[in-house]
């Protein structure tokens, strides 16, 4: 239960970090909060020769609104998703999901960039990137690029990040008044990995759904959108009939794998229950606002 020996480098800039990785010829890992990486090192699931601590790079910090986008530096901590006023206003789904991420002490260290870069399909923040139509800023030797969340998550723990590249920031389109969102999950114990979780963002300029983003966690190899369920809501009033149609459509979106913990059919059932619960909650909010 102890990590293999490694050398430790603490660069002050992104350029130094990229150079330190290149020098290690692939046998290196970046470390930020380390809340997933350190257990993996202790269990020797990973044993890089070099750890590059990006936790002190100023350019990877900061929370700011620019041109209709909320930019969250990769080093933004989970606890900030929980507490930060700009996140509460402009990315409410992150604030709603934050209390479900692990435990308070993990949230004090863990970073949003690290969580999204790891892309654990059972984690809350990666799925919320899909639900918020976020873009992920990546920096590498070739420069900087932005990848939409839909293209970022590719397969189990596989993302658009190439070896040596760094996740620099998350860009989230600021929430608009006509958008409503909800998050919840079903877990056996608080703080445990969820059996299923879901974040929803509906855009409803009047009384009908114009745009729907529904993202699930813990239902497949990546965080997953539910396009058939979304399509079932477009143009509809959010009523019991529309909710039933969205729930029925989920069978076309999700095909949970056999994993020994719960049968796929049960996971799909729980996803339907959760979707109904969340859409019902939004329906109630709309009724109260009217």
């Amino acid at each position: 239960m102890k990590a293999r020996a490694f050398d430790y480098i603490r660069p002050a800039t992104v350029a130094e970090a990229l150079a330190a990785f290149a020098e290690a010829e692939g046998d290196a890992s970046y470390i930020a909060g380390g809340q997933s990486l350190i257990p993996a090192l202790a269990l020797r699931l990973q044993a890089p020769a070099r750890l590059i601590d990006i936790g002190h790079i100023a350019a990877l910090r900061g929370i700011a609104v620019e041109d209709g986008w909320l930019r969250l530096g990769a080093l933004t901590r989970h606890v900030e998703a929980h507490d930060h006023p700009l996140i509460a206003v402009h990315a409410p789904l992150l604030a709603l999901a934050a209390p479900y991420v692990a435990h308070p002490a993990i949230r004090n260290r863990g970073t949003l960039g690290g969580s999204v870069a790891l892309a654990d399909p059972a984690s809350e923040f990666p799925a919320m990137m899909l639900a918020m139509a976020a873009e992920i800023e990546i920096v590498g030797a070739e420069g900087t690029r932005r990848v939409p969340a839909d293209a970022f998550f590719q397969d189990l723990y596989q993302t658009a990040l190439e070896p040596g590249e760094l996740l620099a920031a998350l860009h989230i389109p600021v929430a608009r008044p006509e958008q409503r969102c909800a998050f919840d999950e079903i877990a056996r114990r608080r703080g445990d990995y969820a059996l299923v979780g879901c974040g929803i963002r509906l855009t409803m300029p009047r009384d009908r759904v114009e745009e729907a983003h529904i993202a699930f966690l813990a239902v497949g190899p990546t965080p997953m959108r539910a396009p058939a369920a979304e399509a079932a809501l477009i143009g509809a009033r959010l009523d019991a009939e529309a909710i039933r149609r969205a729930q029925a459509a989920l069978a076309r979106d999700l095909d949970p794998p056999e994993d020994g913990e719960v049968p796929p059919a049960m996971r799909l059932h729980l996803a339907r229950v959760l979707l109904g619960r969340l859409l019902g909650r939004l329906q109630d909010q709309i009724a109260e606002a009217a």
Binding site: Q35, R50, P104, A105, I106, N108, R189
Partner: protein, 170 residues
């Protein structure tokens, strides 16, 4: 290159410089190099909460940070919080309410409680349980622990100073 590195950090108010192997966790550094064995190592993977310490004023798992990463940080362990009497009222309440049996989890419980009360002056019982979700107790159960933290929350909110812990509660 995995040779020990010079690290300067503050532990319980004292600034120290040590040579530390990069692979050594903060928990092992505190226990082995400094003899501060009040920080317990249980699961060593961030699940049980026995190794919690304060890092720059907030609870973190000492098993989930390498000591070299803590360079420049201000660490408080249960020993430091005991000496400064910062958690004396919590310790007294745990004692009075029998909120510990073997005591293995207690340092972590105290640090979670201290962190919670710094954020939320009078948390509900549900909020206390939620905060304790990352602290495992395998003998007492959580009811007495929640009672003890709730009692201290109300006392602190009423402005009662933390009395210094003594072996026998008055």
């Amino acid at each position: 290159m995995s040779a020990p590195l010079p690290v300067t950090l503050t532990v319980n108010g004292e600034t120290l410089s040590h040579l530390i192997e990069p692979r050594e966790t903060l928990a092992d550094f505190l226990r082995r190099d400094l003899g501060l064995t009040g920080t317990h190592t249980g699961c060593e993977m961030g699940v049980c909460g026995a190794c919690l310490v304060m890092l720059d004023g907030v609870p973190v798992h000492a098993c989930l940070i390498f000591a070299v990463q803590a360079a420049g940080a201000d660490i408080a362990t249960v020993e430091g919080l005991t000496e400064s009497a910062a958690v004396a009222d919590l310790q007294r309440a745990f004692h009075e309410r029998n909120a510990l049996q073997c005591g293995f989890c207690t340092p972590g419980m105290l640090i979670t409680a201290q962190g919670l009360l710094a954020r939320t002056s009078v948390p509900s019982r549900a909020e206390i349980r939620d905060a304790l979700s990352g602290n495992y107790c395998r003998c007492t159960g959580y009811e007495a622990i929640v009672d003890a933290i709730e009692t201290v929350a109300h006392k602190r909110a009423a402005g009662e100073a933390a009395p210094r812990f003594t072996e026998e509660p008055a």
